[in-house]
């Protein structure tokens, strides 16, 4: 589950001028023809760095994203939900595995990525720094956060890097279950007892502001962004994703008689665009930089899992083995 946002910062590799012009031209021609780039192809440093950064953040978002819904894994009500909740959280871990592997093909090892995650050096999707207070919060995450992620991932699956596209194809297929499961759970709550309805409305109210920041702030258009779009690294703008999400899901929320806690939210029929209260980007920045309700806990849990599992990995590590990155 991943939305984007805060990904495309400039790096010192911004200067594409230093690249070999002949190779750069071949590379760009390949992408323009609609061919994918594969791991051993020549690629500009900027391409490599941005992809590592993007796929790594996506992977972190999956493994950390397993925690808010994991909060309810032992308490899911009834067999149907219990098994599905287990499978759903398992999928998030599975997605992390797929994405770390895709990032590894570009030259950053899983070891380095996990170290950077735990030490706060690389980011993950900000929404997972918020708590899942009740079972209903977990349902809202399953439905709407995954819905947002699908919008983003469907776009990225059409990107130019082969291993990332392959991983995303598998991920999108699994997310279809998440989305339906989440919607099913929310519908049951919204059309259920007054208590259930109250729970789901309260959860929606809590999650709406983070959801609106899920795709990140409006992109600043720069030559940097244009380059990444031409290289099919960035496939859609944050605002396009947000609009698409609102278009697809606000009607589905409304048809259940639930309210969205934003009095300004409406579709402008002339422009075809949704209007909404601008999300609190200061809070977004504060939380992404570590000062959110759950940042410390999320990282502490991840770290503990790594540390308490270390004896298993030490025990089975083949002393002659050396790191070889996966093939594709």
């Amino acid at each position: 589950m991943y939305g984007g946002g805060n990904v495309f910062e400039a790096t010192k590799f911004d200067d594409v001028q230093v690249e070999d012009p002949v190779k750069l031209e071949e590379f760009e021609a390949r992408i323009a023809r609609g061919e994918k780039i594969e791991p051993t192809d020549w690629m500009p440093e900027l391409y490599r760095k941005q992809l590592i950064r993007m796929i790594e953040q996506h992977a972190h978002s999956e493994i950390i994203g397993a925690l808010p819904e994991g909060t309810w894994i032992t308490r899911a009500p009834g067999f149907r939900r219990k098994m599905a909740q287990m499978a759903k959280v398992q999928d998030e871990v599975g997605h992390a595995q797929l994405l770390y592997s895709a990032a590894e093909t570009l030259g950053k090892s899983r070891e380095q990525m996990l170290t950077d995650l735990i030490n706060g050096k690389s980011k993950y999707s900000n929404v997972f720094n918020y708590p899942a207070f009740t079972w209903a919060d977990s349902n809202i995450i399953s439905w709407l956060i995954d819905a947002g992620a699908i919008v983003n991932q469907m776009a990225n699956a059409k990107g130019s890097y082969g291993p990332y596209s392959r991983a995303l194809e598998r991920i999108c297929a699994e997310e279809a279950f998440h989305l339906k499961y989440g919607h099913d759970a929310v519908v049951h709550m919204a059309t259920g007892t007054p208590k259930q309805r109250e729970m789901i409305q309260a959860a929606l109210n809590r999650w709406w502001p983070p959801i609106m920041t899920f795709f990140g702030p409006s992109d600043k258009m720069s030559t940097h962004t244009e380059t990444l779009m031409r290289w099919k690294v960035k496939m859609a703008s944050n605002d396009e994703c947000r609009q698409q999400f609102l278009d697809m899901y606000v009607p589905k929320i409304w048809e259940l008689g639930l309210t969205v806690p934003d009095p300004k939210l409406k579709k402008n029929m002339e422009t075809g665009q949704w209007e909404y209260t601008e999300p609190d980007w200061d809070e977004f920045k504060r939380v992404i930089n570590g000062d959110g309700p759950c940042n410390a806990e999320r990282l502490a849990v991840r770290r503990t899992a790594e540390e308490r599992g270390a004896w298993v990995r030490r025990a089975l590590l083949n002393p002659k083995a050396k790191y070889v990155k996966p093939l594709a």
């Binding site: 390949r30 994991g70 502490a300 093939l327 594709a328």
Partner: protein
């Protein structure tokens, strides 16, 4: 004091509260080596690349790949090969055939016993490698040359993987029952969740109150 979480599982981990020093960077190899997994969808179809797993050895890699890559969708077989044991040709364009663009250094002398090699082809960039067949050879280059003769003629082939058959762990015939119930696990398929009736009923009952 240990951390009290909304997640009872986390509370039971007894995590220390407050600031902790940064974690020592992981050693260079902490997550094990990688193995590549190939999955067979149904009888008679080619084993197709699904992705890597990190594992300490091929037996554990099999256990891992089985759940990571075949817990959904029909599956009748799984192959595992250590990444290091797979030799890879360069990648060529989607319209090209890699066998025609590379020179294969075939050894002139062959005094060793030939052994089987498995050959995998990638037909289009962004897609997955699929098993093309098996050849007998005494070295990787010779296996590639044999592969070119045996099945390198037709259409675009953008990349080839070559691996000795003895380095591929193949699931056995009697392992097949491990996958027989997968299609029945509907709770993890989108198709199991149908709520239109509930929504329609709700809308019917609340016609006057929910007009937007």
């Amino acid at each position: 004091m240990s951390l009290k979480s909304l997640d009872p599982r986390v509370t039971r981990l007894n995590l220390p509260e407050g600031e902790v020093p940064a974690m020592e960077p992981k050693p260079e190899l902490d997550q094990f080596e990688t193995y590549e997994a190939f999955h067979q969808k149904k009888e008679g179809t080619a084993h197709t690349y699904v992705g890597p797993v990190h594992a300490p050895n091929e037996d554990v890699a099999f256990l891992f790949a089985k759940e990571q890559y075949s817990r959904r969708f029909p599956c009748v077989g799984l192959w595992i090969a250590r990444t290091e044991n797979i030799q890879v040709t360069p990648y060529v364009g989607d319209q090209e055939n890699v066998y025609e663009t590379i020179t294969i250094d075939e050894p002139t002398e062959r005094n060793e016993q030939a052994e089987p090699y498995e050959i995998f082809h990638l037909k289009k960039r962004g897609k997955a490698h699929a098993h093309a067949g098996r050849v007998m050879a005494t070295s990787y280059p010779e296996a590639l040359a044999e592969a070119k003769k045996a099945f390198g003629e037709k259409g675009p082939i953008v990349n080839v993987w070559v691996v000795k058959s003895k380095d591929v762990l193949q699931s056995a015939e009697e392992d097949k029952d491990m996958w027989t119930t997968i299609p029945e696990k509907k709770y993890r398929e989108a198709i199991a969740y149908k709520v239109m009736d509930k929504i329609t009923k709700y809308k019917e009952e609340n016609k006057t109150t929910t007009a937007q």
